[in-house]
């Protein structure tokens, strides 16, 4: 039975902070298909288009009929644990620091046998298991064997916590608490058991509704922060940066303008200054200190969340300059992901459809409630997902883009995309 997670003891300042190490990250290109699915929380394997044989490990040709058309399909993770081991020795530094390590061999109902990381509550073989696909510290897909039925404190399993970023007992920095979404995120974090929540707010002399209520939460500390001001970020990072386990960047500047709807570049410049350069400044000031704490005990630095927009993936002309700034932010987030990966800190990108706030007033429903965005972020942290598309609009955009990016561009240009 997994023991419930306890609040970690204060860090002993005499002890050296352990340097982050990563599990082995080398994969063949074809195996990265699993990572693509796991990034969105799905377990997919190749299934032969001709004979339907499920393949694992990933292959270039069907092991049964040699067909090379092997589409990735979602797999029901049911299976039977047929064998297990507990490693006390490992050739790899990452696992060497973490043994004992439990592994299982699972005969999937879908067919193949898979080696999996084995949750501590799975009974000894033969036992039913549910296999899921998660991203490990190296950002690569791995299979995990869970108990077939939910058990108490399932998320608190020591091995599973290497794959997730549960905010419970963690210290979180939310960069902007003045927006409806920022406030919803803070409330959701408090409900999820975060220990400390620093909440940034620019221009503290301008009061907005809801901020006082946030301040009343015992976990919350308001911190003056302006993401357009490098000095402001540097100051805050020097004070609390070394304690931040999760950073959630909710700061954004959003106006609904196309190119021709407004003269000059002042709005576009502000959008870039907050949405793109703001992320760059935050990454420069908070990134290095978080990377240094990638393996700092139970509550090490684990995640960096970017609130992007589904408009980052394709330009939504009536919010054209905003879309461009979010596309720039997405590109930078990919760079940040590459840099944080070496420390095992996950960069989570959230691509909501239009949020039900004042800047999307003229967009027709469906629109996302700020609490829905916040809950999607908490779920992504808990489940270890790195690309999140909350809401129906975001899901539809994903499907249309996947089907034909060009057709979708034309649909958006004639106003039929949403």
């Amino acid at each position: 039975m997994t023991a419930p997670l306890q609040r970690p003891n204060k860090k002993n300042p005499v002890c050296k902070t352990r340097q982050p190490t990563l599990p082995p990250w080398t994969r063949s290109r074809v195996a990265l298909g699993m990572t693509a699915a796991a990034a969105e929380g799905r377990f997919e394997l190749q299934r032969c288009a001709r004979c339907q044989a499920v393949q694992y490990p990933p292959r270039e040709a069907c092991h049964r009929c040699l067909c090379i058309d092997l589409p990735w399909v979602e797999i029901d993770g049911g299976g039977k644990l047929i064998s297990q081991t507990r490693l006390l020795h490992s050739h790899d530094l990452y696992f060497r620091e973490r043994v004992p390590w439990r592994l299982g061999m699972v005969q999937l109902d879908a067919g193949p046998t898979a080696v999996v990381h084995l949750h501590g509550d799975v009974a000894a073989p033969p036992a039913r298991v549910r296999v899921a696909c998660k991203l490990d510290k190296a950002g690569m897909a791995v299979l995990v064997g869970f108990p077939a039925e939910e058990v108490p404190n399932m998320a608190d399993d020591r091995q599973l916590r290497e794959l997730t970023c549960n905010p419970q007992f963690r210290r979180v920095f939310v960069t902007d608490g003045k927006t409806a979404t920022g406030q919803a995120v803070v409330r959701a974090l408090a409900a999820a058991g975060a220990d400390l929540i620093w909440v940034g707010h620019a221009e503290p002399w301008k009061l907005v509704p809801g901020l006082a209520a946030l301040q009343a939460l015992e976990q919350v500390t308001l911190v003056p922060l302006d993401v357009t001001d490098q000095r402001s970020i540097k100051e805050v990072a020097s004070q609390v940066g070394a304690k931040v386990d999760i950073l959630i960047n909710t700061a954004e500047y959003h106006r609904a303008f196309s190119i021709s709807a407004r003269q000059g570049t002042d709005i576009a410049r502000m959008e870039m200054d907050v949405n793109y350069l703001g992320l760059l400044r935050l990454a420069q000031e908070f990134g290095p200190v978080m990377k240094a704490r990638g393996a700092d005990g139970q509550s090490s630095a684990v995640a960096w969340v970017n609130l992007l927009s589904i408009f980052a993936l394709a330009n939504f002309p009536s919010h054209g300059t905003y879309s461009a700034s979010k596309a720039a932010a997405l590109s930078l987030a990919q760079c940040l992901r590459a840099e944080m990966r070496v420390a095992g800190v996950r960069v989570i990108n959230v691509f909501p459809g239009p949020i039900d706030d004042e800047w999307n007033q003229l967009l027709p429903p469906p629109k996302l409630a700020p609490t829905a965005v916040a809950n999607a972020i908490i779920d992504a942290l808990r489940d270890g997902i790195e690309d999140v598309y909350p809401g129906d609009v975001a899901q539809e955009w994903r499907m249309r883009l996947k089907d034909s990016a060009k057709a979708f561009e034309r649909e958006l240009s004639v106003g039929s995309g949403t």
Partner: protein, 393 residues
């Protein structure tokens, strides 16, 4: 399994068993070790390098070279060359290939060579990049290497057959007893069952003495015609039968049986003798679970009854069914691909009166079995050969 009756190995002689003494770590390369084996083979055969017209090579750490580059490295110009990347099955397969080449006249004097080095970190690199499937679907799971793979199998077999650690321990202890007389064994201290049982866990249910120790070393033997062997005055063994199989029983969810079970009838039919005729057995012994599996799958006892079989034999050179008479890899060490030659070379010593350790009295027939290459969840290559005492001076 074969559709047509296979030709025998008439006229083929297997001779000149060579072991280059192993060391735990070496700063030299695989090329160095294989060169030492070839030099020792030529010296023992009493011929010059130019006499070698065929070569079989196995070595994990020859990379980026293959057998081809090694020929220039060693200044050889063979008219027949084979690179056999089959790990623990390399010896049996080299024998099969070389024997057919000699029978067909494609080569007459085939040096079969296997060797590997072991730097302090080379085993880790070998394990990390062993195969595409291992890299994608095994190594990221704890990076336990072969220990983890065989732990799964051992766990499964212990649970489903009731075989115990004491049973596996008996095999390991018997092999150590055999190794104590073998000068090249890296393990020189006696092993008691109590020590075996008390060893620290490595990958449960495997403990320290279940696992082979990586080391550096080389092995070699010669395949030629009986006429040539007699002319050179070389004692030799004859080949009665051989088999090999790759990726046997792919639908089995876990490898509780190996390719030997598919092919053993063919083996003994070709050999004209069965398992009961064997005076000793040299099986591939990277872990005792695989030793026991070979005893079953090669027909020494029915499937699932190896527990009782183990309890009824001593496996020592002076006892019943001598097993891995030089101590096997578990006591001599695992020198990479040379581990796939160790049993064959020891069998040749036993059958040609050239033992370095304890001779099996009046050995006439011996069985050698190979097993290699855990590509993903199982060893893919299996093979076996029945050898007989040939002409001994």
């Amino acid at each position: 399994m074969s559709v047509t009756t296979r030709a025998g190995y008439q006229g083929v002689a297997v001779a000149v068993p060579i072991t280059v003494p192993y060391v735990r770590y070496s700063t030299m390369s695989a090329h160095w070790w294989i060169a030492r084996a070839l030099a020792a083979l030529l010296e023992a055969a009493g011929v010059e390098k130019a006499a070698v017209d065929g070569v079989c090579v196995s070595g994990f750490l020859l990379f980026p070279d293959t057998a081809v580059g090694l020929m220039q490295h060693l200044g050889l110009s063979p008219r027949w060359l084979d690179h056999i990347p089959m790990g623990g099955n390399s010896g049996v397969v080299a024998l099969r290939r070389a024997a057919r080449a000699v029978q067909a006249g494609d080569a007459e004097f085939v040096a079969c060579l296997a060797g590997d080095t072991n730097h302090v970190d080379s085993f880790r690199h070998t394990v990390a990049s062993f195969s595409q499937f291992a890299r994608d679907a095994v190594y990221p799971y704890g990076s336990g290497g072969p220990n983890a793979s065989f732990a799964f199998l051992t766990d499964y077999v212990m649970r489903t057959t009731g075989i115990t650690r004491e049973d596996y321990g008996k095999l390991c202890v018997a092999q150590r007893t055999n190794a104590l007389a073998f000068p090249h064994a890296l393990f020189k201290k006696p092993l008691s069952l109590a020590e075996y049982l008390a060893a620290r866990p490595i990958a449960e249910p495997l403990h320290l003495f279940d696992c082979v120790m990586p080391c550096a070393g080389a092995e070699a033997f010669l395949v030629t015609t009986e006429d040539r062997a007699r002319a050179l005055g070389l004692p030799y063994a004859r080949v009665l039968g051989t088999i090999e199989r790759h990726n046997a029983y792919p639908e089995d969810p876990i490898q509780y049986r190996g390719g030997w079970a598919m092919d053993r009838d063919d083996l003994y039919a070709q050999a004209g003798v069965g398992p009961e005729a064997m005076d000793f057995v040299q099986v591939y012994d990277d872990y005792p679970v695989i030793t026991a599996m070979q005893l079953e799958d090669l027909g020494f006892c029915p499937k699932g009854e190896v527990k009782a079989f183990i309890r009824s034999h001593s496996f020592t050179c002076d006892g019943t069914l001598p097993l891995n008479t030089s101590g096997g890899q578990l006591s001599v060490g695992q020198a990479g691909a040379a581990g796939g030659y160790l049993g064959l070379v020891e069998a040749l010593r036993q059958l040609t009166g050239q033992t370095l350790g304890t001779p099996v009295p009046n050995a006439q027939f011996g069985l050698v079995s190979g097993f290699g290459m855990i590509n993903y969840d199982r060893g893919l290559c299996s093979g076996a050969a029945v050898l007989a005492r040939g002409h001994v001076q």
